[in-house]
Symmetry: C2
Subunit: 221 residues, 2 copies
DNA sequence: TAGCTAACGTACTGGTTCGTACATTAGTGA
DNA sequence: TCACTAATGTACGAACCAGTACGTTAGCTA
């Protein structure tokens, strides 16, 4: 019975704290994104991991802290993408367009992130509030926007009174909505906002919208 | 002990099917919006009603159907608001601005509706899909947009290639995001998008954005 | 006013789910 | 190589929660 004497090497107990922790985070991200905070099942996360539920409590303390850790990592990913952005060689119009496209692409490629943020909003951002990591770090994108805006306004290309945070909200709202509300929008209006054939169209539309807003002469304030 | 001999007249059993049903819907709307579908408690809904849990099952069949009923009513409210919109006497620019403001105002005044839609998207619009009511009815706002767009494009005020559904998505995304992502946005960027002092600013910003997009000459497509 | 039914209430159950007490082993440093 | 600790596994409990079996009554109608 040699096959029994060697019961699947992968079944042996190998200790690797980092890997176990990372694997739990991966699966938890999927499960929370799939079902929401209350819909997610700790047992289900454990079952889809090479380890057991005990380890989730050992490493993270509980369901709540696990969700916070998942959020922290998800926000870390988008911050990294933003940090890699290099638009200093572009003129303000092209730079803003590039930034908008980065957000557009990232949101599209990370639907789980969008779902996690939606879920966190249902819970009134209580996990962000309770996280030291997430509280501190700002958004690299904001710094970039500030620089581009200043440059564009100085040269007279952009209208004067646009705020960086506002512009970030404008860009984010379009990119976020497209992913977050895909299902209800599709069900009600019969159009899939994530349809691949329309991707380039919506990507250009976002840029056109933002640039039009930035370059239009504003009516009396 | 006279106070015991008359144990609150309101505690008597009065039958009013319509009122009971409506009361359950009211409380359920709050509870689902507060905690999400899985976070909501049928017992909690019942407790905050003058009736009992038994009645929820009597009238609605179950938690799932109750949520669907809640959604149906919430969508009904916004459709009614849209139907009351009368912009035929306005020029296209003013008409679009008026429509955008209606969406802006409605979303701001109905945060529960926004939360319900967010929750429904987490569940991939499965309740809308399973609802006869919600599947059929379109959006009066869309018809209005179509009419305004046609008029504006005919007169040459608006650029030609804008689609009504796209424009609706653009307006909705800004208005929706402002409410739905209020908490994470506030926690991360230190700005409350629903701050009353900024309300007029964001309301104008939305109109400016949409009009700028509609009146800008478009780059090659 | 008798009888019928829609409307309502109580009490319970079966399954689920987060969390933990307790036992065990791999790997490391002395 | 021995002992110690970080890492892991098993089994279980207590609370919770959607849903229901069963019994009751208000109000209408013939």
């Amino acid at each position: 019975m040699t096959s029994v004497e060697e019961p699947a090497r992968s079944g042996e107990r190998i200790r690797d704290a980092a890997r176990t922790r990372a694997e739990i985070l991966d699966v938890a991200t999927q499960e929370f994104a799939r079902a929401g905070y209350d819909g997610a099942r700790v047992d289900e996360i454990a079952a889809r991991t090479r380890t057991t539920k005990r380890m989730i409590y050992y490493y993270f303390g509980g369901k709540e802290q696990l969700f916070t850790a998942v959020l922290e990592r998800a926000y870390g990913v988008i911050r990294e993408a933003e940090q890699e952005l290099d638009v200093d060689h572009l003129d303000p119009v092209a730079a803003i367009r590039r930034l908008a496209e980065l957000t557009f692409d990232h949101h599209e490629q990370h639907p789980d992130f969008i779902r996690l943020v939606s879920i966190e909003n249902i819970h009134e951002a209580q996990h962000i509030a309770g996280s030291e990591k997430l509280g501190k770090i700002g958004s690299p994108a904001l710094d970039v926007i500030r620089r581009i805006l200043a440059s564009g306004q100085e040269s007279g290309l952009f209208t004067a009174d646009v705020d960086a945070v506002d512009l970030h909200a404008m860009i984010s709202s379009f990119c976020f909505f497209r992913v977050s509300n895909r299902h209800t929008f599709g069900a009600l209006f019969g159009r899939d906002l994530l349809d691949g054939a329309q991707r380039a169209h919506y990507r250009a539309m976002l840029g056109d919208m933002v640039i039009a807003y930035l370059t239009a002469e504003r009516s009396a304030d």
